[in-house]
């Protein structure tokens, strides 16, 4: 179906940076009779705390992500910053998604004395949060933050091709190449 007169609907939300998204809560397309959905943050894309249309999170530290030049890794146009060494800032995750799974390291959910307010067949709300937290922990690995090329030295294509002298690309049918 060719939409000749299609115009993206404008967002009802203000658009900092001048490049607002076409979509908005008013744009539900061809959905028919969909059930109610929970409200979602609609303040543009990227960080919900400071709202460029999309892109990076806000950073309280402004200058410590400058590229370092003259790294040992040749070819990088902007240098090769080494991992770590940044003071970092604590969580900048959007509050919305945080609340969805309730994970917040270093913060303990407090309950008033007595029975927990929430109770499910699967245990208390606190237990459920702990289960979610444990599950999320199972997805994360510290190696995700480590340099995956640590200890690797560059290997030359020349060395590899010399080690394996058979550079013939076909041994039978004529013209079995790719274009």
């Amino acid at each position: 179906m060719h939409r000749q007169n299609f115009r993206p609907p404008t967002s009802p939300y203000p658009s900092p940076g001048g490049g607002g998204w076409g979509s908005g809560s008013s744009c539900r397309g061809t959905q028919g009779g969909g059930g109610p959905r929970p409200p979602s943050p609609r303040d543009g894309y990227g960080s919900p705390h400071h709202t460029p249309p999309y892109g990076p999170r806000s950073r309280p530290y402004g200058s410590n992500h400058s590229p370092r030049h003259g790294g040992s890794f040749p070819g990088g146009r902007f240098g090769s910053p080494s991992p770590g060494g940044y003071p970092g800032s604590y969580s900048k995750s959007p509050a919305g998604s945080q609340q969805q799974f309730g994970y917040s390291p270093g913060q303990q959910q407090t309950h008033p004395q007595g029975s927990p307010r929430t109770s499910t067949p699967f245990g208390s709300g606190r237990g459920r949060e702990k289960r979610i937290s444990n599950e999320l922990e199972s997805y994360f690995k510290p190696s995700m933050l480590e340099d995956p090329w640590a200890g690797l030295e560059p290997v030359s294509v020349v060395d590899i091709s010399q080690q394996y002298s058979n550079t013939q690309t076909f041994t039978g049918k004529k013209g079995r190449y790719f274009c």
Binding site: R3, F73, G75, G96, Y177
Partner: protein
């Protein structure tokens, strides 16, 4: 800037973002950009789900639809390429890229964008020699053949990318460039994935097209997925010109999104502090799209790309300064990717599942706008026209598709009976031999008894030299017209064929782990070879993924 890279997402967006948030808290801070290397599964609704090449049993809606509807929002700018598990009809609407949800950008069949001055390129799909030289002839509703060929890499995309001359910082491919495993800890790789051994030693694992691009583009970073294993490599290229410093590429492949798996990596990547922090088009790439626009091919006929062989009047489609200026003028000197996402398809509603959702071949308004601005052709418009003229969507004249196991069923777009789709996907790999919770379906069709080939030499070094053949593919190669029978990885494999359905849910009938190949079971039945090394040298076409 901090860039996170994810392997195969398989629709687990919630988990990816949650894990990313945790990584941000545990690490040096917020991430600016998330790159996903395919199998993204941007499934909006039930119709999209039917267009995903997985056995029906493993078609799960997952969580993308919530981002599509606006219920959730991607917390970080996300850029992804397609793999072999995708809502192909959805991605087909965006051949030149586009937003699949707010803050989630698809690079297209191939594409280059810029973010904070960092040039990010990518190519979607996986390599399969049989379809490589075809045009983009597929359109919904797909049949059992086109549901797979739709995500097979085409020569036109490689050709366009090879017109690029300016340096690329990051490149994404779903399957690995062939030979890349020789530049990392191959020994460890084979320890983790022992059933890669044959293909690694024969140098048949991975995509020759991606390898060709790696050699040409020499990006600073190359990220892949597909094989469900984390693997790092460091490749030093040959200097292209004398006096020039040889470039090096850091390659990283990642696993799929499951607990305890290496599916995510946070990296510090240099950027230009003065460059804007929004996604931008890349002027050189846009120029190449314009120069190659006449090369659009929406037929299934095999063709070769133009080269300097006396048969073509033009073979250089690279971007000249003048052409780039012209493109800049067309965009009014504004390279920002417009925020023009809109919901164009019904979104999945869990409370009202639609079993008979109509499958529509859509023209995306984003693509319309992009093509109009750039002055190029929307492939889907061409397909619509071709369909009207020939009423042959998904078919083509030269039926040399020996792998077509379509029994001739009439694939109505209302057909929700997916049982006819083969449960065995020759593009799939069964990779996870160590996971008890996963089963892999191994076809009972093949009755080959193929002895394993021992390496001729086995050095103790981490970078094993023990394989019989190294392919160093020239930059321009010609495929003969009778190149139809693709090699089977199964020739050296164990019996049967493995299917990996994604989401870590795989069925095994027998506890054999092997790499699938591109062959249908019927083909493999005919093949019984003893000396694998010889046939490996001859049949070098296929990726094993």
């Amino acid at each position: 800037m901090r860039v996170a890279v994810a392997g195969c997402c398989h629709g687990e967006l919630d988990k990816v973002y949650e894990t990313l948030a945790l990584a941000e808290r545990r690490g040096p801070g917020p991430v600016d950009l998330l790159l996903c290397c395919g199998d993204f599964q941007a499934v909006r609704n039930e119709a999209d789900l039917r267009c995903m090449a997985v056995p029906p049993k493993y078609r799960h809606m997952q969580t993308f639809y919530r981002y599509y509807s606006g219920e959730k929002k991607a917390p970080v700018l996300t850029v992804f390429i397609g793999g072999n598990h995708e809502a192909s009809n959805h991605l087909q609407e965006l051949p030149y890229g586009g937003w699949v949800a707010p803050n989630i950008y698809y690079l297209g069949l191939a594409g280059v964008v810029k973010y904070r001055g960092v040039r990010i390129g990518g190519i979607s799909g996986i390599f399969k020699s049989h379809d490589y030289r075809k045009g983009h002839f597929e359109c919904p509703p797909y049949n059992s053949s086109t549901i797979r060929s739709i995500y097979h890499v085409r020569n036109i995309e490689v050709y366009k990318l090879k017109q690029l001359k300016q340096p690329i910082d990051i490149f994404l491919s779903h399957d690995w460039p062939r030979s890349i495993y020789h530049y990392g800890n191959k020994k460890q790789l084979l320890k983790n994935k022992s059933f890669f051994r044959q293909e690694v030693e024969n140098n048949t694992l991975g995509s020759p097209a991606a390898s060709e691009l790696l050699e040409h583009l020499q990006p600073t970073y190359w990220f892949s997925a597909h094989l469900h294993v984390k693997f790092a490599a460091f490749m030093q290229h040959q200097a292209k010109d004398k006096g020039q410093t040889a470039k090096a590429t850091k390659f990283l492949a990642l696993d799929k999104c499951l607990p305890h798996r290496d599916f995510l990596q946070v990296l510090e990547i240099g950027h230009d502090p003065s460059a804007p922090d929004y996604l931008e088009y890349d002027i050189e790439w846009l120029t190449v799209l314009r120069t190659t626009n006449d090369l659009v091919n929406v037929t299934g006929r095999l063709w070769n790309m133009p080269e300097n062989n006396g048969l073509h009047t033009r073979w250089d489609y690279s971007a000249t300064e003048e052409a780039m200026k012209e493109v800049l003028e067309k965009l009014n000197h504004d390279l920002r990717v417009p925020c023009n996402f809109s919901i164009t398809a019904a979104c999945y509603d869990p409370s009202k599942p639609q079993t008979q959702m109509q499958l529509v071949h859509r023209i995306s308004p984003q693509t319309t706008e992009f093509c109009a601005q750039l002055g190029i052709t929307d492939i889907n418009v061409r397909l619509h026209k071709a369909k009207e003229e020939q009423h042959l969507c998904g078919e083509y004249e030269e039926q040399d598709d020996v792998e077509n196991n379509d029994s001739g069923e009439d694939w109505s777009e209302y057909n929700t009976d997916t049982s006819a789709l083969s449960s065995i996907n020759p593009d799939e790999i069964m990779l996870d031999e160590e996971e008890e919770e996963e089963d892999s379906i191994v076809s009972a069709h093949s009755d080959m008894n193929i002895p394993s080939v021992e390496p001729s030499s086995d050095q103790a070094s981490d970078f094993s030299a023990s394989f019989s053949d190294v392919r160093i593919l020239p930059g321009s190669m010609i495929v003969s017209s009778d190149n139809t029978l693709d090699s089977s990885v199964g020739r050296e494999g164990k019996s049967g064929e493995a299917v990996e359905s994604g989401d870590g849910i795989d069925l095994t009938k027998v506890p054999l782990k092997r790499l699938s190949d591109d062959h249908e079971p019927e083909q493999r039945k005919k093949i019984k070879r003893r000396n694998q090394a010889i046939y490996a040298a001859v049949d070098d076409d296929d990726d094993v993924a």
